[in-house]
Symmetry: C2
Subunit: 294 residues, 2 copies
Amino acid sequence: MPADVVEAKAYLDSSKVLVDRWLESYLPADHLEPRSLHQAIRYSVMAGGKRLRPILALATHEYCGGDIEGIDRPIHFAASALEMVHTYSLIHDDLPCMDDDDLRRGMPTCHIKFGEAVAVLAGDALHDIAFGLMARAGSTRAVEELAVAIGTEGMLGGQMADIEAEGHEVSRDEIIEIHRRKTGALIRCSVRVGAILAGADQPMIERLTEYGEKIGLAFQIIDDILDIEGDQKLLGKKVGSDSKKEKATYPGVVGIEQARQDAALLINEAVAVFDKYEENRLKHLAKYIAQRKH
Amino acid sequence: MPADVVEAKAYLDSSKVLVDRWLESYLPADHLEPRSLHQAIRYSVMAGGKRLRPILALATHEYCGGDIEGIDRPIHFAASALEMVHTYSLIHDDLPCMDDDDLRRGMPTCHIKFGEAVAVLAGDALHDIAFGLMARAGSTRAVEELAVAIGTEGMLGGQMADIEAEGHEVSRDEIIEIHRRKTGALIRCSVRVGAILAGADQPMIERLTEYGEKIGLAFQIIDDILDIEGDQKLLGKKVGSDSKKEKATYPGVVGIEQARQDAALLINEAVAVFDKYEENRLKHLAKYIAQRKH
């Protein structure tokens, strides 16, 4: 493994510990009423996951001169909010009326474990807690960024397009558009919010936005590839589920070899957003994404 | 009809026109993609409704010296957000895995009209758009107020307790707690946000909070009574559905006569929050709620 990917991996591991600690402290305690709801929320959020979105927000925040040390920093609230929004979207995506998935991160999905009504409400609750936390970060701009990223122009629009595309032929442009919205928008938002809360100037925010867009799309293309040839044990979910559900996927449209090349190109473009001779963590994280196995 | 109730009715009617105009302009256009999602959102929000929550925010805002005239005022964003949140909660409450209702405001519910997947996403989208609008009002405090009011301590907690209470005996204290959360919290929040955005001081906010809590609980008790003896045509939904679903209701616990008396007492207490000789719109609105037929 190249040295920069090793560095990224170590950073991801140590940051995950921090993010998990913040999530633990910002989620409602599961002995408080309504207990079943709080248990379902904690079960879903603490089931694991790479915490990629909050970690991208942290790394960008630090890159822009922000400080992540201390207690109850705005960036801690924001990073936790990003992961909670991601989890809310997974809980609702997994519902029987949506993707109808039984397994997530190697464990039964929320509705399998707690029933459908609780799963709908647990997703709603995480959605809500996330916005409360983002507001606690003190920036209405950050709240608006989040709302746009996960709304009908972004994540929800992508989810809707994804459902509508099932069983249909889609073009390369169409699948890129679906991926940009469904997965890309929140990753882009994570990077932007990290920069905004560090007080970055507009040219910097735009440069980082480009970085976020490239890695966001690459991330989902690689996700599609892993669904074809990944290791079920590492992934914590069944492989081959996209094709079984006749989901539109990037390799399904352009072929797996072309998909691999396009993802690599996107990662190179993301790295090229920065100065050629500048070594930095965001570059390393991009390279990590290029070779991730889960 | 007493003169103050007539005044309240006229105010509700004229304010509803304003709120509908704002909602119309802040909702995504239904010719934009994802069209089916935008259509479902507009269908649900524009199906009607009293717009009580936004109107309470407006009336409180004016009471505290705020100005509601003009275009794109913070209070317009906030009022619209409150109605969207209310609609999101209705869409998700109506789902088959929740209350399984077919009829709402005299029309097929969202999932009956557009399917379950679209209904889940339309609720999610309204939840999201509402937070974006509340942030546009420029106050992170208002966003936090909303998040707490509709979270697991508030509306969602009430919804969960409501489901768990189905088919069980509950005490008067328990049903009050369910109603306080499920319906009361958002009504209380509407009043508070109206005051906060007008720059009201803390003693004023606390006095208005008490008013909001009283009318919020009275509103839901009257809702329960109307479900027993209301006019289905006026209500736009089936009567008797609470008892059919073995829902915990206030008259179910204390009897319908006692429920009527308790609602009247709460309204008197809400009115008594203000000076005895002070005539104002919030008093009128409280009295309107006491005698509402739908």
